[in-house]
């Protein structure tokens, strides 16, 4: 476990030194928010759960949970997706 963390840290250091984009190299999820009504997400694996009040997404390294009311998915493709509604909270699990 510790070995894995060390590897990750080294990788992050390497990416930062070379100024490479983190979302591509580290597989991090990229979330762009417009106010609290729209969220545009890239670099995810899929939807784990979708209800009106919560959308749980599986990323490459973590999970992200969007909470709010009247949540809807404007579009959903392999590359990116857009969530609209009243977003009240984003949690990383």
């Amino acid at each position: 476990m510790k070995k894995n963390r060390d590897r990750n840290q080294r990788k992050e250091q390497f990416v930062e030194t070379l100024k490479l984009p983190k979302d591509i190299c580290m597989g991090a999820m990229k979330v762009t928010l417009t106010g609290n009504s729209e969220a545009w997400i890239e670099n995810y694996r899929g939807i784990l759960e979708y209800t009106e009040n919560q959308i749980l997404l599986q990323g490459k390294t973590c999970q992200a949970c969007f909470e709010g009311t009247r949540l809807a998915i404007d579009y959903y493709t392999n590359e990116d997706m857009k969530i609209s509604g009243c977003i009240t909270c984003i949690r990383y699990l």
Binding site: G46, Y50, A72, I73, Y76, T77, N78, M81
Partner: protein
Amino acid sequence: MIELLKYLRGYLRIRVWGFSPERFMNLCSNKGILIWNIVREGDVYYMNINLRGFWALRPIVRKTGTRVAVLERYGLPFFLPRLLKRKVFVMGLLLAAAFWIWSSLYIWNIEISGNYQITDDVFQSFLKENQVTVGMQKRDLDIEELEKEIRRRFSQITWASARLSGTKLLIDIKENDAPIVSPEKKETTGTDLVAEYGGRVVSMIVRSGVPKVAIGDEVEAGCVLVEGKVPIYNEDATVREYYYVDADADIVIEHRMEFTDSLPFDYVRKEYTGREKTRYFFRFGGQEWKMPEESPFLVYDSLIRESRPLLFEKLSIPIYTGSYTYREYVNVEHRYTDEEAKVLLNEKLMTFLANLQEKGVQIIEKDVKIGVDGQSWILYGDFLVQEKAGKSADTEKVETGVDTPGESDTDE
């Protein structure tokens, strides 16, 4: 743009429910099936899916244990078959397109611009002579030839351009607004200036020629004022030869001028009875259709009103509508009152005086009388005027030993 593409390809609104709708969505995105507007209501998901993606759903549905139901269909693939069922509508559409294409082969409007001296009517009749009319086929029109013909026919047009803009023929011309300069005569046989009327010479400025009268002289009509025959003398004061020129001078002659005009006591005036009849017409190009009607009144005049609906004007379609209004009248004899007659005669006098003033005639004295002569009013005016005089007339030739007009040696 994306919306248009989606519409062209067709899409469906579907309802998805069952064991794992989230997995259904993930598999869709993995397989590259576009889904959008996903909304959850209770246990049911509603989403849009493109038509091609819908046909590839079966394995996904089976794998995820979900069920799919189509709610609505959108787009051209669904609209077209429905449209094609309406045969009359499709036929109308095709006919409209065919008519549109067919009518674009003709000229439906001719616009002329840049003409000031040549009136539209003159130009229209010229175009008619050359078989350029509204309703002719575009392919029958030879634009270059038309431009050449315009320049050939109207000498004052210095530049002509014709072009077709859609179904409109635009003719743009430029007229020569500079004064027409006649080529200078190199050789002249000589001309005199002759008085048109008798009187007293009050002013005289001679530019070329030999003056034959002086200021203060009384002259008669036909008298030579300036001679175009310039003598060249020998040393012994005899005339060696004559040098012929065009006499040119500003001569003002004071003379008497008379003006008489008459106005009959009676005149005939049109009096409208108030009875009118209107007859509507419809005109397409040169063809006119009128409402059938016999001769409306015994004595009448007609008023024509013509208009073109804005839509047809914009579309350059030569459709005109209008009406003929026939107004009945009777000819009633009237007699001028003294005041009326004086006003009318005065108007005539004023017009005459204005004409004189336009010609540059100066009035020194005037004596105007209005009287009655048998059956009419008479206006008699006697004026003393100062007027420019001198009209050209050929110089009388004199045979001398050397006769080379325009060329002479001037040694004295």
